[in-house]
């Protein structure tokens, strides 16, 4: 909003300067400030997310440095374009196209400013998770498996994360391996599509690049009637041990039998990498 309202002043400036020479000031105005306005919105949002530690809601940490450096450079160019006078070049177009350009740019800039600068940052929800297959495989990276193997070696199973458990389960779902082991994991509640009444996942999203490629992973938890106590998307910490999944329809052969399920706040880094 503010960025849009703000471009009003340069509007008048350009307007006064060019009106006498060219009737198509509205098209030029749109051409000159549309990109700068959109860049301003993106750059400010990026820097703010970086400063407040929320950039991880959108992109993988390996891009933080590059993204922030380029955002800073972008900020320099945005400010510089207010300092440097606009050249009096540009194509002449029909008045209708010029008006269209101005209105289109104003609408785009307003929508962008609201979506990028005003909507509170958020993590992905179960709506996206249900569009994607949970534990679709391939997530058992060498690192996660090594880490898990090390932790399994120490017998400290409660420290294994959702991702590490999933990678262990991907290697073997032989119940004998898991019977005496306790899991304590944090994630959001996601119904198991094959038995939504009795089984839910303690789920996380794995992000490799940015949130667009987020893939849901999760440990199945057997708890008939869970939806009376928890909502989908609630963040919970589940403690329990693995056993053969009693559910008749669930595709998961093993499930956590919970001893406690506690509501927790959403962690500041909801995704895993």
């Amino acid at each position: 909003m503010s960025a849009d309202a703000g471009t009003g002043s340069p509007k008048q400036r350009t307007d006064n300067r060019t009106r006498r020479h060219a009737p198509d000031w509205s098209g030029r105005l749109a051409e000159r400030w549309r990109g700068i306005g959109l860049s301003l919105v993106v750059v400010v949002a990026t820097v703010w997310l970086g400063v407040t530690g929320q950039l991880g809601l959108y992109i993988h940490p390996r891009y933080f440095g590059f993204t922030l450096v380029m955002a800073a450079l972008g900020l320099v160019f945005v400010v510089a374009s207010f300092v440097v006078p606009a050249p009096a070049t540009g194509q002449s177009r029909s008045p209708r196209r010029n008006t269209l350009a101005l209105v289109g740019s104003a609408v785009l800039l307003t929508v962008a400013a609201v979506a990028v600068l005003m909507v509170p940052p958020a993590t992905l929800t179960s709506a996206t998770a249900t569009q994607r297959e949970v534990n679709s495989g391939g997530l058992d990276t060498a690192e996660a498996a090594d880490q898990a193997a090390t932790l399994v070696g120490t017998g400290d199973y409660e420290r294994l994360s959702v991702k590490e458990w999933v990678s262990l389960l991907a290697q073997s779902d032989d119940p004998a391996l898991y019977t005496d082991k306790t899991a304590r994991v944090t994630g959001f509640v996601l119904p198991d599509a094959s038995d939504p009444e009795n089984v839910f996942y303690v789920a996380r999203f794995v992000v490799t690049c940015c949130a667009v490629d987020a893939q849901p992973i999760g440990l199945p938890v057997y708890q008939p009637g869970w939806s009376n106590s928890y909502n989908t998307d609630d963040w919970v910490e589940v403690t329990g041990f693995f056993a053969a999944n009693p559910s008749a329809t669930s595709t998961n052969t093993l499930a956590v039998q919970p001893s406690t399920i506690e509501s927790v706040d959403q962690p500041s880094d909801p995704y895993v990498y």
Binding site: V42, V44, L49, I59, G74, P120, T123, G137, G138, C209
Partner: protein
């Protein structure tokens, strides 16, 4: 003296205006969570989150592309790049398809860069070759693909070879076009023609640095005016398809040698992941899909996807993009099928 005073007076007004606007934007952003409870439905919220993640991920590459394009157009002597390229057209395009090795910008940044190349003297088919080859034939993409797949199933080799061949075949086809300028949007064709007129006005070999700074800033304004709206619209389209097209539909097709290729190409088209990280993304499908599907994903997706088409539409006509998309799709599918049936 008089002129100095004029400059000093003009600079602060713009500077203050710019700084105030930036500060205002920060203020709005910082205060907005205070009116939490927007209560967006999950799907709408996720659409915003996904679109924003693509924008935040791609915008730095777009800026980098514009900066490199500015260096080529404003700071390097005219014709500097073309000077080192072979004159024979086939060899010339083959060299151009390797330029991505020196400009590892990612595909979104390649669009402004390719525009800069065209202004700087590349022919239309030459820039199409660059645009298609550079996302694959660049060090970051090759390293990440190797990291993800090693030399398994010929996926890496197929990607590199197919990327090179497809870019050059399409470049060759368009080099036979009688009127290559008609492939461009009228707006862009006009802006390609303009710098030459400018060149006559101030023809001295070393334009003053201040003039170049002004030109650079102006180029930033012009390029972002074209690319940023396309990036926003492309990201929104990518987010909407993610939220409303169930991915499980595609996954059901993974083990058939033909369908795995087509399904993975469709997936590549809608997810619009950057080419220098798509190998990690597709790694997770490695157990579900046949290697040919993976290879087709990595080849097709790097060149064409929903966001790229929005970006390329700034420069090329719809007709041209339909042709390029069809050609890339056919040849990527051929590469994928080759891997599945022969590899």
């Amino acid at each position: 003296m008089h002129r100095d005073r004029g400059t000093v007076r003009r600079v602060p007004t713009g500077l203050i205006l710019g700084v105030v606007l930036v500060a205002l934007a920060f203020l709005v952003r910082a205060l907005s969570p205070a009116f939490a409870g927007w209560g967006l439905p999950d799907r709408a919220q996720d659409t915003v989150t996904l679109a924003l993640s693509v924008i935040i991920e791609s915008a730095p590459f777009v800026f980098l592309g514009i900066l490199l394009s500015t260096v080529v157009q404003v700071w390097l002597p005219h014709g500097f790049l073309t000077r080192f390229l072979p004159r024979q057209p086939l060899l010339r395009r083959a060299s151009i398809s390797l330029l991505g090795m020196f400009f590892p910008v990612c595909e979104c940044g390649n669009v402004p860069l390719a525009r800069g190349f065209m202004v700087g003297g590349f022919t239309v088919p030459e820039s199409i070759t660059f645009l298609l080859a550079a996302p694959i034939l660049n060090p970051i993409t090759i390293i990440t693909t190797h990291h993800a797949f090693g030399f398994d199933d010929g996926i890496l080799v197929t990607r590199i070879v197919a990327g090179f061949v497809i870019a050059n075949v399409i470049g060759w086809l368009y080099s036979r076009h009688p009127d290559p300028d008609s492939l461009l949007t009228p707006d862009f064709a006009a802006s390609c023609a303009r710098p030459e007129q400018d060149g006559h006005e101030h023809d001295h070999p070393h334009p003053p640095a201040a003039g170049r700074m002004q030109k650079s800033v102006d180029l930033f304004a012009r390029e972002t005016a074209v690319i940023m709206p396309a990036l926003f619209v492309g990201s929104l389209l990518a987010a909407l398809t993610q939220v409303f097209v169930p991915r499980s539909v595609l996954l059901a097709l993974g083990s058939n040698p033909v369908w795995s290729v087509l399904a993975m190409m469709a997936l590549a088209f809608i997810v619009a992941v950057c080419s220098n990280v798509d190998a990690f993304f597709v790694l997770s499908f490695g157990s579900t899909f046949m290697p040919g599907g993976i290879a087709a994903f990595l080849t097709f997706g790097a060149m064409i996807d929903v966001k790229m088409l929005a970006l390329m539409r700034t420069t090329f006509t719809t007709r041209t993009l339909v042709q390029i998309t069809a050609l890339v799709a056919l040849m990527s599918a051929a590469a994928g099928l080759l891997v599945n049936y022969v590899g």
